[in-house]
Amino acid sequence: MRRLLQMIPVIIGATFLIFVMVFALPGDPVQGRCGERPCPPSYVAAFNKEYNLDKPLVVQYLLYMGNVLQGDLGKTFNGNSVAHELAIRFPTTIKLAVMAIIVEIVIGISAGILAGMRRGRFVDSLVTVSTLVVISVPVFVIGSLAQLIFGVKLGWFPVTALKGTFYELIMPAFVLASLSLAYVARLMRTNLVENLRADYVRTARAKGLSQARTVGIHTLRNSLIPVITYIGIDLGALMGGAIITERIFNVNGVGNFLYRSIHQKDGVAVVGTITCLVLIFLLANLVVDILYGVLDPRISND
């Protein structure tokens, strides 16, 4: 509960910052809405009225946030509701994100455990080096290369994912998961190694417990906690990655919508989408915080 209250000023601050960036600073929010020519004054006046641009900044912001909380994120160029545009695209993006998270968890944690258990041997070096490479190669490079190799050359997967079916989304999901996967594997490995050297492991062995139980239950529980919380925090990176991945594979999701809105200089859509995404991110962080408190008994909740 306390965390929720703590979060409120942050939410206000972040959304205000976003709002200010697009609407308050020198830069014409109307730009580009009318094509190449400058907009007729009547249009500008109507626009200003609709978005309360003639009112003081703080009032603007409050009115805007009021609308947001009611689900109104403004209108795009075409007059469609931004909220609506997002709503029809969210399912696809969520599908992609969930697939990516599953990949991240399964592969990342397994790789991390393997490397941690066989520390110093071949598997460990393999994991360390490959995660290093994956972290270094930017998502869009991985995506483009994957598209090239697995899509074009080998033909194993469709090159674009227009329909958003499960099969089409496999490659994008892996690409999206790649960066996070690498971090998860490393984190898991480091935690496991550290916990394997902990005193309580010695106690467990002194109790006559089997190696399997000592590692599988005692150590793993301790090692997993930071990893799970990391996955929650990582959602932010996942969002950024989604924009890129959706663009490369032409997935009809929120990320692609954002990308196109940027290109069309649709300020309202951009601000609406980013505000929405940031709110989701903050919510996820809150959940993760609480989860962490539940999993680790050393953290006191109130």
């Binding site: 270094s136 190669v137 869009f140 483009s144 290369l145 940027i262």
Partner: protein, 328 residues
């Protein structure tokens, strides 16, 4: 290389330096992180010894050097003009004449790749510097002063952390876009500034916790009691303590920032043509049809970009392993 206290350390000697044992004191624990304060010389020297034996260290250093030189003196690597376009040669595959082939507009891919180093490396270095300076100052102030200032800074940091890096970058650069006519320095500076603006909280956090770790120590209290100004206390005691983590984080960040700049340029909000950026090149090369026809447009900038980022992250990794006494 000077040791972490600023006194030159004798790194050529291989001997284990025996510490003086006088009747009053006991043996010092040489291999510990806390020894950074009392035995900074030993930890720095040990780390150096460790690191210079690892091949990864030298490989990454060599790569970094290569790309930095490429950024500063691209002429050393190619005689061609990256701005010269010959449409008739568009999308030609690599040949003896053009090692990396030509792109859709007839630019020589090799030349552009080489010249692209400048933008990426500059952004990386600038962004790291900005975030380091700003983040450190804020972090030290927050840790040193404490109280309401600390809480305020903490809140502000949280606000910036609430906006994921890429989203924030997109947002900022959308508002202050780089135009076609923006001069190189400004464009690069802007992108670097934007990245730094979103990345400073992590540096602040490190510096702040370092301050909090060192401040309550007796020798700091003693220094203050003797009238040492806060600046002196900070520079002599606090900064050396945090140097290890900050170095590691900054090195890794450099790589990450280069990747982010490329991502932003790829999305079209970062550096715009005519500024040559690897991100732009990859973006231009990544239409579906284009990939089929002319993969060389994609492959070579990708390779250079990945290697650059890899070398920085690898270096940071190696240095961190060397400085971490627990991994011995």
């Amino acid at each position: 290389m000077t040791d972490l206290r600023g006194e030159p350390a004798d790194l050529s000697s291989e001997a284990i330096v025996p510490l003086q044992v006088d009747a009053a004191s006991g043996p010092e624990q040489v291999v510990s992180e806390k020894a950074l304060e009392t035995g900074a010389r030993s930890l720095g020297a040990n780390a150096w010894r460790d690191v210079r034996g690892r091949p990864m260290f030298w490989i990454s250093l060599a790569l970094i050097l290569l790309f930095v030189v490429m950024a500063i003196f691209p002429q050393l690597f190619t005689g061609k003009d990256p701005a010269y376009a010959d449409l008739s040669k568009a999308r030609q595959k690599p040949s003896a004449e053009a090692w990396f082939g030509y792109d859709s507009q007839g630019y020589d891919v090799y030349a552009r790749t080489v010249y692209g180093a400048r933008a990426s490396v500059s952004v990386g270095i600038l962004a790291t510097m900005f975030s380091l300076i700003f983040g450190s100052v804020v972090g030290i102030i927050a840790g040193y002063r404490g109280g309401w200032l600390d809480s305020l800074i903490g809140r502000i940091a949280e606000i910036f952390l609430a906006i994921p890096l890429l989203l924030g970058g997109i947002l900022f650069l959308y508002t202050f876009p780089n135009e076609v006519d923006t001069p190189f320095a400004i464009a690069v500076g802007k992108v670097a500034l934007v990245i730094a603006l979103l990345a400073w909280p992590t540096i602040t956090r490190i510096m702040r916790s370092s301050v909090l770790q060192v401040k309550p120590n007796d020798y700091v209290q003693a220094a203050r009691a003797l009238g040492a100004s806060p600046i002196r206390v900070i520079t002599s005691h606090i900064v050396p303590n945090s140097l290890a983590s900050v170095i590691v984080v900054s090195t890794i960040n450099l790589g990450v920032f280069i990747a982010i700049e490329a991502s932003l340029s790829f999305l079209g909000v970062g550096l715009q043509p005519p500024v040559i950026s690897w991100g732009n090149m990859i973006s231009d090369a990544s239409g579906i049809g284009l990939i089929r026809l002319a993969p060389h447009m994609l492959l070579f900038p990708s390779l250079f970009l990945s290697l650059t980022v890899l070398s920085f992250i690898m270096l940071g990794d190696v240095v961190r392993d060397a400085l971490d006494p627990r991994l011995r």
